[in-house]
């Protein structure tokens, strides 16, 4: 029987940027380089920052917990290598500027060990209680690996005030260039299926959907085939969704599959939905079955300026510089290194920036691509064409907000729901006048935060 891989579900708005996934989509997940030094950030998630548990010149084991916090919304961090703590110092962070990190230097005689994991044939999620799964997820420091980094334990733990019914596994990967989730779906299929069953057991959800964009028919087929062989495969459904950016956004995915809106400023549990990324689900399996902490992740190193693009399983905390070096270094024509994809990723100024739990890709773009990009071109006045309104997945009015911010009318920007913007970049992408709409909206959000904080004079 031919499986229908045509995506019928989608959301209003969105754009179709060039996918560019061909660079790495056929590359199997390889082990990254042996690292001599890692800098494990103490803040890799949304929520309270971890406190270091180790001191300078202390020896640490691979997988040892080196930072933790008592707060509910937080996740501990672990050392991926065996070695010695050199210092606890500030390191460049892609988002926070400079943030505290634990720098571990590997012992010269101990080779970098990669976690080995094999799913047993007689796996049954009913052998694990919901509480045990949640605790294992918390201890392994698992956070949403799609980009936001929300602690997974908080998401899947049953909450009497917000009962959960539907679990959506996000395998969309709508961002151009990135293929790490696609490779995980192809190669770690059994791990994902086991993780789904564990997450379902922990959260008490009755229905499960696996959402995959229809530009990945192989992944849809592999997932369907794996579900057929497992015991309760009928309850888990693979849903092909239409290829469109930002289909992988949490709210857009819920809109596409369930035709429901998450309230503005709200979270998916308010309508009984949990959304987990495929990489997160695979990490749950590792954590629950073999107590492996989240200390390694798959990163797509891609872009036209990279000599050997590919998908690499690398220790969290290794620097972007080391990883790019391992992939053949950057070409002379390279101009911009981005953590994440070209739409939502953040440009890295300092190549010593370590990889965090939420880094799904390193994209290196060439000078010509940057030259073609919006900001290098001349910005012209808004011609009121309304294209940004058409593509905004949150149904906002980006041009009104951007102009309000430009003219310092923050109350107007607020009345147009500036805080509902998720900064997907669709409006900047389609703007024919080359206006940096997303940039202005981001700036406006910071202005508002400063205004509310009451800065001392």
């Amino acid at each position: 029987m031919r499986i229908d891989t045509k995506g019928r579900f989608s959301f209003p708005g969105g754009t179709h940027p060039p996918e560019k996934k061909d660079l790495t989509r056929e590359m199997e997940i390889q082990r990254g380089p042996a690292v001599t030094e890692v800098a494990v950030m103490l803040c890799q998630h949304i929520g309270a920052v971890c406190q270091p548990l180790v001191r300078k010149s202390e020896a640490v084991q691979a997988g040892q917990k080196i930072g933790d916090c008592d707060a509910f919304v937080s996740a501990p961090v672990h050392s991926p290598i065996t070695g010695k703590v050199i210092e606890v110092a500030l390191r460049s962070h892609a988002v926070l500027g400079r943030s505290l990190a634990i720098v571990v230097e590997a012992f010269p005689y101990s080779p970098t060990k990669w976690p080995s994991f094999k799913l047993k044939d007689d796996f049954d999620e009913n052998n694990y209680s919901a509480g045990k799964i949640c605790e294992a997820v918390r201890q392994a420091g698992i956070v949403g690996m799609g980009g936001a980094g929300f602690p997974t334990r908080v998401k899947i733990e049953p909450n009497p005030r917000l009962p959960k019914e539907i679990l959506i596994i996000n395998g969309c990967e709508c961002e151009p260039y990135i293929t790490c989730d696609y490779r995980i779906m192809l190669e770690w299929t059994d791990k994902i299926i086991a993780g789904i069953r564990l997450a379902r057991r922990a959260s008490g959800c009755s229905r499960v959907f696996i959402a995959i964009e229809d530009n990945k028919p192989e992944a849809i087929e592999v997932m369907n085939a794996a579900l057929k062989t497992c015991a309760d495969g009928e309850d888990i459904k693979v849903v092909p969704v239409r290829t469109k950016y930002p289909q992988g956004g949490e709210r857009q995915l819920i809109k596409a599959i369930l035709k429901k809106d998450v309230p503005t400023g709200g979270i998916p549990p308010m309508i009984g939905v949990v959304v987990l990324n495929v990489a997160t689900v695979a990490a749950i399996t590792e954590a629950v079955i073999s107590d492996l902490p989240l200390a390694h992740r798959v990163v797509t190193v891609t872009g036209e300026a990279i000599a050997r693009p590919g998908n690499y399983h690398v220790p969290i905390g290794m620097s972007v510089e080391d990883l790019i070096e391992f992939c053949g270094g950057v070409a002379k024509k390279s101009a911009k290194v981005i953590m994440g994809g070209p739409m939502m990723g953040i440009a890295v100024a300092d190549l010593k920036t370590p990889i965090t739990k939420t880094t799904n890709a390193i994209t290196v773009l060439t000078k010509e691509q940057i030259g073609r990009a919006k900001f290098a071109r001349r910005q012209t006045p808004c011609i009121r064409c309304g294209r940004c309104l058409g593509v905004c997945p949150e149904n906002l009015n980006p041009t009104k907000i951007a102009h309000a911010v430009k003219n310092n009318l923050l109350d107007v920007a607020e009345s147009y729901y500036i805080s509902a913007c998720m900064e997907c970049g669709c409006c900047s992408y389609v703007c024919p006048a080359n206006i940096e709409l997303t940039g202005y909206i981001k700036t406006g959000k910071i202005f508002l935060a400063r205004q509310k904080k009451k800065i001392p004079v």
Binding site: A89, V95, R98, V348, A349, F375, G439, T443, I446
Partner: protein, 296 residues
Amino acid sequence: MRYHTRECVEENLAEMLELWNSAWPAGATMLGLGFGFALVLLIASEKLKVWVDPKVEQVHGALPNLDCGTCGFAGCGQYAKAVLKNPELIGKCAPGGPETSQKIAGILSLQVSDSGAVQKPIVHCHAHTADKTYYAKYQGIQTCIAANALANVQACAFGCVSFGDCIRACKFGALSIVDGLATVDYDKCTGCTACSKACPRNLIEMVPFRYENMMTVACSSKETGKSTRSMCKVGCIGCGLCVKQTEQFTVEDNLARLDYEKYEATEQTETAMNKCPTKVIIYRGKTKNPQDKPGG
């Protein structure tokens, strides 16, 4: 000629009379209406009279009339009214300074205690373009607040990013970017605090200028001495040499600070300035050459 005949004149006279006869009631009505309305207005102006304190005018005259809004009111007129009602607001006019406060107090026949020195801004960074370290070129929106949102726009996370948010905030043209550093022209500065509110890195602090030139530690870097050194040639490394000279200095979070309230120009502060290994203790103020001794 018809004109000169008697009948013709009589005819004309009769016409004029007729015109007058038909016109005078209208004129009388208009005059009557005019008087009537004037009377109404006269009564209204007496009955609904609003008494304006002549002091408001006086206070308004004493104010600098810049309408800068530093006092928290919509303009000098609003502030003048408010000050009369609540004399505690006297010191709020920053551009006017103590002189204006004295004048207002004189009008209100009050005595103001010495309100202290004029508050003027000091930029707590001393790094010009050649002193800073950059990792990459920033090409985004050219404002400080947007640049500051992106991590590592320059190596130092505390120093001046020099895209001029403070310049746009200043209504008096007192700020300029000189070689990658926001610089205050103290002749033009009125002390309205707009720049200190605009800086996303909170580099600009309002300081009581009790001398023409104030000594300051022109750095905000709270990183360790080693990393500050690696990023900036003129950053404070928190060595504490200045603290050994005088207690006016304190070191907290790897950063030396001068207590501006206690500041006295003494031998010790001068020695501290000369001993500073990165020469980050400098004078900022009205004298053109900042290295000059303070004038009074």
